[in-house]
Amino acid sequence: MEPNYDDLLNMGTELGYQLMYSGAEIYRVEESVNRLLTAYGLQPQVFAIPNCLIVSLNTPSGHPITSMRRIPSHGTDIELLEACNDLCRRLCREVPPLEQAKERVRRLGEGHRAHPTWVLLMGYVVAAAFFAAFFGGNLRDMLSAGLCGLGVGLWILYLSKPLRVVGFFQTLIAAAIASLLALLLTDLRLGVNLNYITIGTLMVLVPGMALTNAMREIVNGDIISGINRTAEAILTAAAISLGVILSLAMGT
């Protein structure tokens, strides 16, 4: 029986979309979609850049079909990434009937474990506190950085989404909150070293990892993605420093 190529293409694109959304690298997305569709006997062409995924294939009768998905801004979700990767590997190995495979791809998001929001908040607090210690702060600095991390976490996790502040301004305000709280806490004599507290808290925001990932993409040969991510990293850093300077100006 002739398989339904539209469905196959949609399934491949959906898997690629989920992978991209979980923060996977470009080569992983391209290769996974390629493998999946190849396992179903097609020769797909896959092209991905950080906010766009294009999958194209020719049906055996020579008819070309293409699907394009735009990827919204997203964080990193390793659990989803592992689920996608695992599913892709299984589908490639077992090659189940199309209906079944489609169902499994569709269910990817559902059985997905996510930490409750308060655990994420704890993550922000712990990371900020211990990065402050890591940079040389003492116990009181750790405590204040933890509080700053709490403020940043509250903003990012609870407040910014309902207010629809995303991207540049989300980072800017988060940095302003971190810096303002750090100023306040050192003024209240809880924190000692303003610098360690600020930089420890900002570690949650700084795009160091984005820059490293960008370099990896470039080394890998995905130059467009690499440059895209580098620009993003510099923009984020600009937002952070603007936020910090804003609250320094307010604080003095």
Binding site: G23, A24, E25, R28, E31, S32, R35, G75, T76, D77, I78, E79, L80, L81, E82, N85, D86, C88, R89, R113, A114, H115, V119, L120, M122, G123, Y124, V125, V126, A127, F130, F131, A133, F134, F135, I199, L202, M203, V204, V206, P207, G208, M209, L211, T212, N213, M215, R216, I218, V219, N220, A233, I234, A237, A238, I240, S241, L242, V244, I245
Partner: protein, 156 residues
């Protein structure tokens, strides 16, 4: 004792900080501890490298090599992609402070400092990226041969 304090304490802090980050990245269960340990290991390698050769680009490269080897091993053991472990373990090393300082100089109007800090930051990021990719690639070629047929394929 002094040496112990200078080397091990930062590693402990980076362990806990990485665990916190692991939670933010939605890593579950035992995986979080693996990330934390990777962070500690990487920082230890960085500190040792700094004692041996000084500077921070070469030690970063050295640490990235160690972290990538560790993460590839763990990814093989747990049979899941290496991305998460690698990214979280690299966190203490990534030049976040550098890029932040660079942009602060930029906003301040200190163009010389801005450019030199930015270029230095790119250098560190590139060292990390190349170190991690180099050892990943080498391991990917070697491991399947060592483990004879087990692992390989899409696993990485």
């Amino acid at each position: 004792m002094e040496l112990l304090k200078a080397l091990l304490l930062p590693c402990l802090w980076s362990f806990i900080a990485c665990v916190g980050f692991g939670l933010v990245f939605n890593i579950h269960g035992f995986g979080v501890l693996i990330c934390g340990f990777g962070g500690a290991l990487g920082w230890l390698a960085y500190l040792l490298g700094q004692r041996l050769v000084g500077g921070d680009v070469i030690p970063a490269f050295f640490a990235a090599v160690i972290i990538a080897i560790y993460s590839e091993m763990m990814a093989r053991v747990r049979r899941c992609p290496v991305t998460g472990y690698l990214q979280v373990a690299l966190l203490p090393l990534v030049p976040g402070a550098g890029i932040y300082n660079a942009m602060r100089y930029c906003v301040d109007g200190q163009t010389d400092l801005f450019l030199s800090t930015l270029l230095h930051t790119f250098g560190v990021a590139a060292a990390l990226a190349i170190g991690a990719m180099l050892s990943s690639t080498v391991l990917r070629i070697l491991l399947p041969r060592l483990m004879a047929g087990k692992a390989a394929g899409t696993e990485r």
